[in-house]
């Protein structure tokens, strides 16, 4: 069963299969490239739309909100033809009653030539909604106080009900740009493929070189087309701003600056990445493609798991990687977030290296405790003559079955200074109560450690029990006949045979403990002064407390690299993993 068809693993697959592989690889580069370009352009165009809406809105407010003045403004500015803009106006300038909104909507629906145009579906929906909200807002005596924090709904409501809410209303009513970016990518990939096929049609040539050239071509030309198209849209927005400035005069204020974000760096990096990826992946992926044609059902069996994982784990991960290079205004800042973490400027209130040290200490102590307690209990429980061991075993895995955030909160209560059982126990021993979760690093850390030890030893116990079961009894008899004592038998028989099961469990346990968010966050919460925070809770703090998502993403990426390096360096594990592969 399952022999490799085609035999030789190093033989180059057929050119057509390789071309398909190159197509997939190029698409994998151009799709996020297109996504990025669209995002950049959308941001600029949205900024321009906002500015235009604001400028016209100001004009409307200044000229009075009666129907005739409104009509005149709308006609002169030609605002009615821009769907996103008209939705905004309905809310900013519609007045506070249903009639006012409906009238504005009708006016906005007039085209530049004075003929009515059909309202877009979402716009007519919004008109109805806005009317309803305006009515209820006026009824409730809405003042616009909740304009900032009330979420999108509240902003829209305020925008309708109060002139002061106009700005917020513009923010809420802006539309996304849907640019036709699909075709340049498709066309360039097709062109590059034709080139690749022509260059590698002869069997036996190295496919890497033409693949790299095809990648360079597709990446470069695709990026150029994207940049060119995006530039066009931004320029068009700029032109609209200029003409609006001319119409409205100085009252409109100065238009926003549009930074050329899709520049040379974008084109070069897309081309280089495409070339490298195509060259590196053409052979391997080409083999997958040809294997796929022989045995599609095999790949169909893996596809659901693979597609789900790529879409919901890898795509979010790479989106997170992208965010690690942005600041809070979504501007590209290069490695600034990483520098902020690794070489803090002094304004930062925690030290990465201290946190890393605490994390390593936390992980080591926990894993040692888990293995020591788990293995110890397993050794006791694996005695055949021990009575009631089934009951012990069932009771001892209770912590595993309970959701760990519940465990963490329960232990937070146990360590409570006034009414926690931990201090009641100390009182029994005649020891003064300890302020466990107070100002001391040691007590906070101990509380976390005890909680996580309670939580984690059953897993190691079960793994050890399973591994002990599989050790043949005659090995011990042989060792005993050779005169090995109890310790020698444990050292030379039990331990080596436990290794294959324990090492992967320890690696897994290390990764889990390294990222054990719930316990640290819920028990000590980092007290005192974030000192007991581990890396993952620091990342969360950057996200929730400092509200710096780029910094949080950079933290997460550093955690990922540490864990990846750990797994690679643990060469035993690599070997264990390899033995699983084949």
């Amino acid at each position: 069963m399952g022999a490799m068809p085609g035999g030789d693993r190093n033989a180059a697959p057929r050119p057509l299969d390789q071309a398909l592989a190159v197509a997939v690889l190029l698409a994998a580069v151009l799709a996020p490239g297109t996504f990025f370009a669209r995002l950049e352009v959308a941001r600029e165009v949205a900024a321009s739309e906002e500015w235009r809406a604001l400028a016209v809105g100001r004009q409307i407010v200044a000229s009075g909100a009666d129907e005739a003045a409104l009509a005149a403004t709308v006609r002169t500015t030609g605002a009615g033809a821009v769907p996103g803009l008209s939705a905004t106006f309905v809310q900013t300038a519609g007045g506070t009653d249903e009639f006012g909104i409906a009238a504005t909507a009708r006016l906005l629906a007039l085209g530049p030539n004075g003929m009515p145009v059909e309202l877009p579906k979402d716009l007519s929906g919004r008109v109805k909604e806005a009317a309803g909200r305006a009515k209820s807002s006026v009824g409730d005596g809405g003042t616009g106080a909740a304009c900032i924090d009330g979420g999108e709904q509240a902003r829209l409501l305020c925008a309708v009900a109060t002139p002061g809410g106009a700005v917020a209303g513009v923010m809420a009513g802006r539309s996304d740009v849907q640019a036709p970016f699909g075709w340049p990518a498709t066309a360039t990939v097709a062109g590059a493929l034709l080139f690749f096929l022509a260059a590698s049609w002869k069997r036996g040539t190295r496919p890497e070189v033409p693949a790299a050239v095809a990648g360079l071509l597709a990446g470069g030309v695709g990026a150029l087309l994207l940049a060119w198209g995006g530039r066009g849209m931004i320029d068009a927005a700029g032109a609209a701003e200029t003409s609006l400035s001319g119409l409205l005069g100085a009252a409109a204020g100065s238009p926003p600056l549009h930074a050329p974000s899709l520049g040379v760096a974008f084109v070069v990096s897309l081309a280089v990445v495409a070339a490298l990826l195509a060259a590196a992946g053409v052979r391997g992926l080409g083999r997958v493609v040809s294997d796929f044609r022989d045995r599609p059902f095999l790949y169909a069996a893996i596809a659901p798991a693979m597609i789900g994982m790529v879409l919901l784990i890898f795509v979010p991960f790479f989106m997170g990687v992208y965010l690690a290079f942005l600041d809070n205004n979504r501007t590209f800042v290069g490695l600034a977030n990483f520098v902020e973490i690794l070489a803090p400027s002094g304004t930062s209130d925690t030290n990465f290296y201290l946190t890393l040290g605490v994390t390593v200490l936390w992980t080591t102590l926990n894993v040692v405790m888990h293995v020591a307690i788990g293995l110890g209990l397993a050794l006791i429980l694996s005695d055949a003559r021990l009575r009631g061991k089934a009951i012990y075993r069932v009771l001892l895995i209770v912590p595993w079955a309970i959701p760990n955030y519940i465990t963490a909160l329960v232990w937070k209560w146990i360590f409570n200074t006034q009414y926690g059982p931990a201090n009641a126990f100390l009182a029994l021993l005649g020891v003064a109560p300890v302020d466990w979760l107070g100002r001391s690093f040691v007590t906070n850390f101990t509380a976390n450690l005890v909680t996580n030890t309670w939580l984690g030893f059953p897993f190691m116990m079960v793994i050890s029990l399973g591994a002990l079961q599989s050790i043949p009894a005659d090995l011990y008899e042989a060792a005993e006949m050779d005169g090995a004592g109890r310790w020698a038998r444990f050292r030379h028989v039990t331990l080596p045979l436990l290794k294959p099961a324990l090492v992967p469990a320890i690696v897994l346990g290390t990764i889990w403990t390294f990222n054990m968010f719930n316990v640290v966050y819920l028990v000590s919460g980092g007290a005192p002064d974030n000192q007991t925070n581990i890396l993952i809770t620091e990342a969360y703090r950057a996200f929730r407390v400092l509200k710096n998502y780029g910094l949080a993403a950079a933290y997460s990426l550093i955690i990922f690299f540490i864990l990846a390096a750990y797994t690679m360096v643990t060469n035993r594990v690599t070997r264990a993993a390899e033995s699983v592969y084949e």
């Binding site: 399952g2 893996i302 003559r385 009414y419 002990l468 011990y476 699983v580």
Partner: protein, 289 residues
Amino acid sequence: MSDSNPAGRKVSRGGQATRHAVLVAVTLVTLLPVAWVVKMALSDSQSFQGASLSPIPEEASLANVAEVTGSTDADGSWLFGRQALNSVIVSVFTTLFGITVACTAAYAFSRFRFAGRRAGLFLFLVSQMFPGIMMMIPLYVIMESLHLLDTMLGLVLVYSTTSVPFSVWMLKGYFDTIPKDLEEAAVIDGASPIRTFWSVVLPLSLPAIAITALFSFMSAWNEFVLAYTFLSKQSAFTLPVIIRNYVGEHDVRWGLFAAASLIVSAPVVALFFTLQRYLVGGLTAGAVK
């Protein structure tokens, strides 16, 4: 359990007594926190002034349990029932979907050699190292653009895909330990690969499948952070989210928290103990073959 005794064969009566003493002590430490939670849930007060070590409930009031289970929304419909149903549906479908997908993939990885196999297995392994916090906002954006926020389908999709890599590795390890001869015999008798898998491999793998299913179910039933992020409507909440209602920033209503914790934990603990006899075999067979 096996007959081997790794720590030594000759154990005196005194040795046995020491062992029981150790086991009883550890078991007590293990069970005390649980007993305290029960006590807390059955008591009438919320704050527990005056520390006590005794795990024996002083009162047996069901007021906390009644308040947790009796919650209703503005329209007067039974909110807790709705939320419990959400949890059941999400967890059951996560398990079914996740196990089906993981079983087929793990079987292919275990029995066939094909191009991209190593890379595929490696990707499953790497995906376990991504910190969840980094994915939260991107996942939210993806869910939003697919209109899956506040839906059970969204949770099922996220939960099952995040549990699949671990399931695939575990099941593959277990399938590896099943001798191929059995399947070859079935193939010679003319059975298709699907039929072979269904009637030969699957029955032999029940311990591993049971344990994988248990883990999938537990992770979905207990998951809190993503549910808290994706769900904004009370009627869409799963049970872990409601526990948060009782644990405020400064004010924790311990009695209600304990009652809710017991109610949320009970089904998953019951399931865990039903399947625990598979735990040892299902978890470790792949690693110690």
